[in-house]
């Protein structure tokens, strides 16, 4: 018989190797810094968002991350004898500033600025997208900026200039899903006939011609 694990936490990794994860997380944490009092990207689990995105929707950027992190750590090892995430916050900031000015060599076809911009964009996404994507843990990102999330709607009073919405309870997609189950009458139901089913089942989208043996890719 097998026994249940001590923990079912989900801080494992789907794409990054250990050092890569620490490097990316350190970068995210300098973009939106935080601590337990005033959480930032690290506390909100932005790394988990990026890691999951890279093994799914963003798989085409896997190479850019892998190469970029390698190049960055090569640079910091030469300069400081340490990997990026082992440096002090001040040292990390100095390096990020240099990346932004595109002064860090070795990024091949890309540039250190483009690499940083990519991580910057994905950090923002992980901070403020619905928690279902793996970041924005406990809606920390939304709490930080006062965004109430996936609200069904707002009242006239809530839309008054200067109204105080700080007591409004945040809703996530999980909450809307529950609402849709419990009260489908709150949502739209299109009346009238449905289109006839095609004579053969043809799900999906028009597919490009395939080379023999090539796997079926997403249509769009």
């Amino acid at each position: 018989m097998v026994r249940p694990p001590k923990t079912t936490d989900t801080t494992g990794l789907t794409f990054f190797f250990l050092d890569e994860a620490d490097t990316v997380e350190a970068l995210c944490a300098r973009i939106i810094p935080g601590d337990s009092e005033d959480p930032g990207a690290r506390e909100a689990g932005v790394l988990r968002y990026i890691d999951r995105a890279l093994s799914g929707a963003y798989s085409r950027w896997q190479g850019a991350y892998r190469e970029g992190v390698r190049t960055l750590n090569l640079y910091t090892r030469q300069r400081y004898g340490k990997k990026f995430f082992e440096l002090s916050e001040e040292e990390q900031d100095t390096i990020i500033a240099a990346m932004e000015r595109d002064e860090i060599p070795g990024f091949g076809d890309s540039s250190s600025e483009a690499f940083f911009t990519m991580i910057w964009a994905h950090t923002v996404e992980g901070m403020f997208s619905d928690p279902v994507y793996g970041g924005n843990r406990d809606a920390l990102g939304w709490r930080m900026v006062g965004f109430p999330g996936a609200q069904y709607g707002y009242s006239a009073e809530e839309m008054r200039y200067g109204a105080d919405l700080s007591a409004k309870e945040i809703v996530t997609l999980a909450g809307v899903r529950q609402l849709a189950r419990e009260k489908p009458e709150l949502f739209y139901h299109r009346p009238g006939p449905e289109p006839a089913a095609p004579e053969e089942e043809t799900p999906g989208v028009p597919q490009p011609p395939r080379e023999p043996g090539e796997p079926m890719g997403p249509g769009q």
């Binding site: 300098r30 973009i31 939106i32 810094p33 950027w61 900031d93 990020i96 932004e100 990519m118 964009a121 994905h122 923002v124 996404e125 901070m127 403020f128 997208s129 619905d130 994507y133 939304w142 930080m144 900026v145 006062g146 965004f147 109430p148 999330g149 996936a150 609200q151 069904y152 709607g153 707002y154 006239a156 809530e158 839309m159 200039y161 200067g162 109204a163 919405l165 997609l173 809307v176 899903r177 849709a180 489908p184 949502f187 739209y188 139901h189 299109r190 009346p191 009238g192 006939p193 289109p195 006839a196 095609p198 043809t202 999906g204 989208v205 028009p206 490009p208 011609p209 249509g219 769009q220």
Partner: protein, 582 residues
Amino acid sequence: MPNKHADVLIVGLGASGAILARELTEAGFTVLGIDKGPYYHSDDFWLKFDELRYSVRAGLSPTMDTDPITWRPNARTGAQICPWAVGPLPLNPLWLPPSVGVGGGSIHWACWSWRQLREDFRQRTEWVSRYGEDALPEGSHIVDWPITYDDLEPHYERVEYEIGVSGRAGNVGGEIREGGNPFEAPRKRPYRFPPLRPSAANKPFVEATRKLGYHPFPAPAAILSEVWRERKACTYCGFCRDYGCHVGAKSNTLDTMIPPALATGNLELLTNCRVQRVNVDAEGLARSVSYVDAKGELREASGDLVILSAYSLENTRLMLVSGLNKNGMVGKRFTIHNYGWFSGTLPEETHVYAGPAVAGWAIDDTNADFIDRSELGFLGGTPIMFFGGDYQPIEIANNLPPDIPRWGQGFKDWLKHVNRHFFAMFSQMATLPMETNFVDLDPKVKDKWGQPALRITHDWGENDRKAGLWLNRIKHDIAREMGATKTWEAPLLPPYHITTHEMGTHIMGTDPGESVVDPFCRSHEVPNLFLVGGGVFPTYNGYNPTETIQAIAFWTAEHIKRETENGGVLTRFTTNRERLIG
């Protein structure tokens, strides 16, 4: 399997194609509607409150993977796949082609729904009489439309009453109404529904513009402010532009036009089928279209009349791929909007995530020539529109003022502040139809199915720069009057060259040498082929185009119904018509 045939083949059932589908099926025509995207069910949008999926990843838009478009600033430069639409940064559905699926762009649009001004139908006459022939820049092709506001007036009304538009009329039968747009052309009836509830920060915008002597009014919105049949009133959820609606309040053609068309029994939908070309027979008539079905098989379908309503750019690509460009006018007169984004912060909390964008008001004093352009040195006009709501945190973070740090504590502090106090306004300065701005087929880049990509050759010009400077001055005045604590602007000449407002490229006109379609959207070259959409606009103006595109779809449907009866000009193509009416 034998080829499918119908009286009318419609390629693309979007904002305009679905109108033709309903009008013609109700008139007794059999219609085969082919769309490259899916048929969405209403519960597909119940969980749409997801900025990442629908805005950042443009969940309802075609992307450059399946629908590549290339761009170059001028004919001397090599083209590349639209650089603003590829890469690891967020996509913006406004810089992509608008739609994939039945309902097209009307599903996830922002719902600004305008009638054009009288003046917009006759720019040449207006500008020459005011500023003289010399004011028209060299290399421009500014013409009057072959149709007038009065031609379209009843059809605008049909859009507003049958699809559903909310607003406050400013001119009913020549009588100016308090609180509406005093500049609008006279309408027979007011809007179908009262205006939407304005968004929070709209109040200071209205006060400021009034104080400055302008005439603010609620922007006309294709959104229900009240319940209508099965569709509910807007709940002001604020996931509107880029999103489907969870309560059916957004007026799209999927909900308003397709169900009655299906109810006739005359509409067959072929979804997830991508049309690749129009096949013309020896007599020069459109006989069929070739399409790739959902399984990847190449098929053919035929119709007595063929209508292309696959969006201006795709209509144009289909024409060019099919070799239909005898007079060389297909692809010419390409015009787009410069949105002139202007952002700021206000002292009070603005809750800019609540309400649709179109719940902001607008001023039209800056449109057309209501302010004389003689001393300003540019042509054209635009309303200035307050962006009511519809801003979520990822978009706000990406709209960073140049003096705010992009990372670190300063960035974090900014995010906390800006999300609570943000506001935005924008304008829509149209480019002039210049000889140097056009689209054609890219000689190298192809889509996954081996079809050449469309190539855009477009750059902003002097007119766009001067207009932008003038508009920024006015926006600054308004922001100052609103009490803005900070403001910043998008670049005067933006980096994008797709705006979901692509007009021209198959323009209408009476001269078969100088236009692609006649005033009823019928091809000069192939007499049983129609091209519907913004592509027919010979010139562009300051308004979002869709209500006009839809009014023209109703107008074209009227024409087809009229001319297939009693010896009309289309009877010679419609072989089965008698049987079907009887």
